[in-house]
Each structure stands twice: as C-alpha cells, then as structure tokens.
Amino acid sequence: MTTVVEATGLTKKYGKFAAVDDASFRIEENRIYGLLGRNGAGKTTIMSLLTAQVFASSGSIRVFGQSPVENAEVLGNICFIKESQTYPEDFRPRHVFASAPWFFPNWDQDFADRLVADFRVPMNRRIKKLSRGQLSAVGVIVGLASRAPLTFFDEPYLGLDAVARQTFYDRLLEDFAEHPRTVILSTHLIDEVSNLLEHVIVIDDGRIIIDEESEDLRGSATIVAGAKSAVDGFVAGRDVIHREAIGGLVTATVSHLDEAGRSAARAAGLETSPVSLQQLIVRSTNLSESEEGQKS
C-alpha cells in the first residue's frame, strides 16, 4: 500500500494554545478516511497543515513523499474544499467551474455538468447571492469533479438538505468506485458517513485519540450495565472508555470485549449491548474532556 500522507509529531501552536498537538498518522492511497471530532478539535487545522495553508510549529509532513510547502507539484494533486470557501468578487458558479481545470489537471467537465444538474446550481447567479446550501453545492461539485488524487472535504455540506447530502454521498461512492483516489472527509455527522469510511481518525483537543479501521471499531466496544458492585468487579483490569452511574446502576463502555467477554458479563448478571461508531466516538471524546477537567 502506498502512503500518501505521513505526519510525524505534527504540532501547530497559536501562542500558547496547541490547535494540533504532537499528531502522528499516515494516510494510505485510494481509501476514504473520516477525520472526526468535535468543533474546535483541530480537524481544519490538520487539513490546513497538510495542504500548506498554514505552517507547522514543529513536526514533519510528507505528502506524496515531499514537503507540501510551496511545492507546486504536490499541491497540484490536492483539492481542499473548505467549509467557508471565498471566491473572487462578482464570480458566478459558471466562472468557478470554468476556472477549475486550471487548478485540477484531472478535472472532468462532463461529471461536473451532471453534478450541477443533480444539485440544481444556478450557474449565472452571483456567488454572493447563492443560498448557503447552493454555495456548499458549488464546493462539493469542485471537490468531486476535480478527481484530485488527494481530496479534502472539510464539513462540505453546511446548509445542504438531507436529499442533497445523500446525493453527495452517492456520487462520491459511485465515482470513487470508478476512479479510486484518496478522500479525507471531515464531519461531525458521523452516523451519516460512517458506512462510507474505510478508516477513521478521531481528534480531540488537538490530539489523535483513535486511528483505526472503521470495521475494527464497529462492534469493538460493548456497554455493560448492572449493579455497581457487579459492573465494577467485571470491568476491573479492562479498558473502560466511559462510565456513567445513576443511583446504584452503573453503565460502562468497555473496548475490545470479545464474545467470551460478553458471555462472562452476562454470566455475572450484567446486561450487554453493542455500541455504534457514533456512540463510540461520542463516548471517547467525552472521556478526554472529563480527564482534562480533572487535570486542570
């Protein structure tokens, strides 16, 4: 497998605040990644670092084996669709799609035309006059039709309704099947996209807390619930991601519990239930927050 991105000890500080804190990870070629996390966790900063739009305080980045900073060869293979893309004054969607081929060598005009029809983008309206959803659709179309070997979508669907978001996911999958490429999708709508993702990177407070195959994560955690003494006895020595208590009843989310472990829990009189990807991430990011709270 070819590594497209390799980040080592990546750190970005704004004054004393570390937006990205010692992050190390790899992105492999032709896979769809989810970069997940809460608002302000550092997702956009990571993508801005990888696309050389901001510069790292320390650590190293290799994109296609090279540093992306002021590197036209690398940046020509990248498309970064931002949540708040700005366009030149007086631009209309048709200008955006007409100029896109200058930046993206693999641009597919037919595909772009089909997407314009799918998303019903008014080609001759001024960008400034577009609705939030139409503006997002312009970005989504550029990202898809760019066919850039490395494409970032940073919360690309602000204002897009459920139908348009589903269209985006469907077109992304269809096109990915025909023209494999590396896609990094940053989102907090985890439920909607979890089935599209092959690999998940979760960032919280600037640090990477999960970096795993989504199929390995799915079903890897189990909720055990029951009387406090029974739960505490069972989870002792196990990896507890999250714990909640209501009166004498305790609910604990335990990672990597196999079938034998679940049977043991049931034999101890505990209720077990599976955890979805979204729940797992919510519980993981909650925990780091409470840990922070204890430290300060």
Binding site: D170, A177, E198, S214, G219
Partner: protein, 129 residues
C-alpha cells in the same frame, strides 16, 4: 445496516440470505463489489471484504474477467451451516431458559408443537422472523 456489527459480515449474510431464499440461484452471476457498495451505500473496500469472505467459504467463485458467481451446492451448504447456528443461537438458550423455569423436556416439546400448530393456522405470520 446494523451499526454495531462489522458491515462486511452483514453484507456476507445478506448475500447468503438471498441464496437461501432463491433470489440468487446457483451458477448465476452476483452483482459486482461496486454494485453492492452503491446499493448498500457502503465503502467498496468493505463490500469487497464481504464478498471475499464468501469466496473463501466456497459459496461464491470468481470467473476471471467476468465476475462473481454462486457456487454449485452452496445452498445446501448454507442450510447446513445455518442449522448449526440455529442450534447454537436458539435451541441452546431455549433449553437453558426452560431449565431455569423448571420446564421439563416433554413440556417443552409440547409447547413447541402447540406453537407450530398455531403458526401453520396463520401461515402469513411465519415470515415474521
């Protein structure tokens, strides 16, 4: 899709169910990995993992350059496999629970027969499994 279990296993099960139900016949072609991915709205690599699981089990086989086909005799093998699963997942817990409640073997047999009779009187409910 059930979010709490690996999707490739669910894809493999869905294909197995179609073979058991006779929707996919032996020696006929099944949809491609990309078609499965588009239909279930999942990552193509995940769909491929599910399909490959069935290839490894000998349920599906590859014809080079053409696609994926249902193997001869796969339906009978799936029925046998699912019967084993049925015993482990339904019958054994049933007996455990019956023992807990003091239900004897003949009483259990009687219950099963009574419920079978009830269901065959309303055959439309049988599908609701």
């Amino acid at each position: 899709m059930d979010e709490s279990r690996p999707i490739f296993l669910q894809i493999a099960e869905a294909i197995e169910n179609d073979i058991l139900a006779g929707v996919l016949l032996e020696e006929t072609q099944v949809p491609s990995t990309n078609e499965f991915a588009a239909f279930y709205r999942i990552n193509p690599a995940t769909a491929g993992k599910g399909v490959n699981l069935l290839v490894d089990d000998g349920i599906l086989y590859k014809k080079r350059g053409i696609g994926m086909f249902v193997a001869a005799g796969s339906r009978a093998r799936l029925v046998a496999k699912r019967r084993d699963q049925f015993e482990a997942e339904y019958v054994q817990p049933l007996i455990t629970e019956a023992e807990k409640l003091g239900i004897t073997g003949p009483q259990l047999e009687d219950m099963i027969n009574r419920n079978r009779a009830k269901q065959s009187a309303h055959p439309d409910k049988e599908q609701a499994v």
